[in-house]
């Protein structure tokens, strides 16, 4: 190989081909994916995130929660995602079209969160999520910096955490979530992809295992 021109053309072709194939190729396939309109329910899916949840996704992103949590359910016969109650069907591309910053994640040090709001048997409510964030749980650290410990002046806050035992704040004090914690929890409570798109019917068995 003596020809420098040949080297540059080759290098450019290598990077261009892979970019065109992978990025443009999947863009051609999925770039125009539209919401699915369900006649019987008279609305389209997926639905947009409520404003506060969209703000909460930014908190999720800036804390890089994706370093331990995925947001993708694999098909029922691939892994234990379904058996763990993370979702009855696999996640499909249409689930994510309205998410400004998709957080698929690459590690499951903690559970998947795609369908947090439709967990079986019971989904965690706002209070559970607040306490989990404040106190931590198992390998999950406590995110105390998302809360304020403050003196109760006048009436106690509606949002104050109902903590017991060692976590109970000092007398006359209350633990209240910051606006970031409220947004994050609103986001976590918006995580729900239970609508069955035509392409999301669970792929059972089959030959491609």
């Amino acid at each position: 190989m003596k020809n420098g021109f040949f080297l540059f053309v080759g290098l450019f072709a290598a990077i261009g081909l892979s970019w065109a194939g992978i990025v443009l190729g999947s863009y051609a396939q999925l770039g125009a994916l539209a919401p699915y309109y369900d006649d019987s329910e008279a609305q389209a899916f997926p639905q947009r995130l409520p404003g506060i949840a969209a703000k909460g996704q930014l908190v999720y992103r800036d804390l890089n929660c994706a370093s331990c949590h995925t947001q993708q359910v694999r098909r029922p016969d691939f892994g234990s995602d379904q058996a763990r109650g993370w979702g009855e069907r696999q996640s499909v591309a249409r689930d994510y079209i309205y998410q400004p910053w998709v957080q698929l994640g690459q590690a499951r040090i903690g559970p998947d969160l795609t369908n947090l709001q439709s967990r079986k048997p019971t989904a965690p409510d706002e209070e559970d999520l607040m306490e989990m964030l404040y106190a931590g749980q198992g390998a999950m650290p406590a995110y105390r910096f998302l809360f304020r410990d403050r003196l109760i002046v006048g009436q106690a806050s509606d949002h104050a955490l109902a903590l017991t035992g060692a976590l109970r704040p000092g007398p006359g004090h209350e633990i209240v979530p910051t606006s970031r914690a409220l947004a994050l929890v609103a986001y976590l409570q918006s995580l729900n992809t239970t609508y069955d798109y035509p392409e999301a019917k669970p792929a059972q068995g089959g030959d491609q295992k």
């Binding site: 190989m1 080297l7 290598a14 890089n64 994706a66 698929l104 931590g136 105390r144 910096f145």
Partner: protein
């Protein structure tokens, strides 16, 4: 490309002083970032078995500290040191002094300033949560421009070479130098300036991550390996003709292997299928690298030993990639510490050890002084190799346990954390060893560059 063209022009030794300052500056910055990345990585490791560690400190919360460690390692350590060594090799192969040294110095300062701003941004909550591209948008254009400034010197060295012949290390160095700006800017545009929609973000990020590895990190390290191994052993590369096939295999097939991380995900299934085919095809590249660089295993100085372990880890990493790209294996290893083990085998093993090999060969020639302490070099070798091996084995074991447990729906996450705890403690110990070894390198580098004694040019003229 002929066999006798193997030996590079010797007259380049006289060329050293022109590029000494900017290249040593880049190398020194790289080593500093390596220490920073090691420290941040250690915090992130400890948090995996002690979640309370720095939990109250938002700038060091686990997600952020992991992003900081990754960015500091990749853009700080390899970005600086890999680039310095590639420029050095290009200028030596050209037989001319390094040109545009001032641009390299200015570029180095701007690159590191941009990186520092980006890391502060991640710590403050502006991180993007995109693997390999955690740095916030506002730090990236400066880094791109800085890279371009440094690259000028490489282009001049390559275009102005005295012989029209190109060596294997030429191709790899030119590829890394030329392709990074394309990768970096394409990723910035599609992910941050005008983000693509939905899961396409994950696809584009997967392309970028794999591109960084196949078209930048690996070529930077291989440019060094292909230069240093024949230099030290004094032997012509075996199967030199095949080397160019190996090179083209890496640049054409490598970027397609990234989809293996998306197996089972909400992306088109052909992305993962292509990745399986590509990962297996890429074994050809690893085989050729092994054949080409097998002289590294013949024994010799410490630099060659670093190379031998680096090449072994690089090739082994390729084999593991091919195996885990299979859907049946990914079923256990996907989303676990096994992925991290694989990554560390390639990065802390393959890339870092090969770069250390070049550093130990290059610095005495660049600074005109022998290494201040031989025992520090040997200590670094032992710690770096044992540390990397222990790290990969312990994370691999943790990953297999985690993967098996994840597939049993009755095992809760707290139980998985318990089961993997011992192995994660071992991984922390391994990372401490690596960090300590790198401290030895830093101490030795500073002593050598700042206060070593000059060696006679003859002693280094090889």
């Amino acid at each position: 490309m002929t066999a006798q063209s193997q030996t590079a022009p010797e007259e380049a030794i006289a060329a050293e002083p022109a590029g000494r300052l900017p290249l040593l500056l880049l190398l020194g910055a790289g080593i500093l970032w390596l220490l920073a990345a090691g420290l941040l990585g250690l915090v992130s490791d400890i948090q995996l078995h002690a979640p309370w560690f720095f939990a109250n400190c938002p700038i060091l919360t686990h997600g952020r500290v992991a992003a900081l460690a990754e960015s500091a390692w990749m853009y700080g350590w390899v970005g600086n040191a890999g680039l310095a060594l590639s420029l050095w090799i290009l200028s030596r192969l050209s037989g001319e002094p390094l040109r545009a040294g001032n641009l390299v110095a200015i570029g180095a300062a701007a690159w590191n300033a941009g990186l520092l701003v980006g890391l502060v941004g991640i710590a403050a909550g502006d991180g993007t949560a995109l693997p390999s591209l955690h740095l916030p948008l506002y730090s990236l254009p400066v880094m791109l421009a800085a890279y371009g400034a440094m690259g000028v010197s490489g282009v001049l060295a390559w275009a102005g070479r005295r012989r029209s012949v190109m060596f294997a290390s030429h191709w790899y160095a030119v590829a890394a130098l030329f392709l990074f700006p394309w990768l970096f800017s394409a990723a910035q545009v599609t992910l941050l300036w005008a983000p693509v929609r939905g899961v396409l973000q994950a696809v584009a990020d997967g392309w970028y991550t794999q591109g960084l590895w196949s078209l930048w990190l690996a070529p930077l390290a291989l440019a060094g390996a292909y230069y240093v191994v024949p230099k030290i052993t004094g032997k012509v590369l075996p199967s030199y003709e095949a080397a160019s096939l190996g090179f083209w295999c890496l640049v054409f097939v490598g970027p397609w292997t990234g989809g293996r991380h998306l197996i089972g995900g909400p992306v088109p299934a052909w992305i993962a299928s292509m990745a399986i085919v590509a990962s297996v095809t890429l074994l050809f590249h690893y085989l050729i690298v092994l054949i080409n660089l097998r002289e590294a295993f013949g024994g010799g100085g410490t630099a060659l030993k670093f190379m031998a372990f680096g090449v072994a880890a690089y090739v082994l990493g390729g084999a593991v990639d091919a195996v885990t790209s299979m859907r049946g294996v990914a079923l256990v290893t996907q989303f676990t510490y096994f992925d991290v083990a694989q990554q560390q085998l390639a990065l802390a093993g393959g890339i870092s050890l090969m770069i250390f090999g070049v550093v130990y060969f290059a610095v005495p020639r660049l600074a005109g002084r022998p290494w201040a302490s031989g025992s520090l070099v040997r200590g670094h070798l032992v710690l770096a190799v044992l540390g990397a091996a222990l790290l990969v084995l312990s994370l691999g074991a943790a990953g297999l346990i985690q993967g098996a447990a994840l597939n049993e729906p009755s095992v809760p996450f707290s139980e998985i954390a318990e089961r993997t705890r011992t192995w994660l403690l071992l991984a922390t110990a391994a990372d401490s060893m690596i960090l300590f070894g790198n401290l030895l390198l830093a101490a030795n580098f500073i002593q050598t560059v700042a206060c070593g004694r000059r060696a006679s040019p003859e002693a280094l003229a090889s």
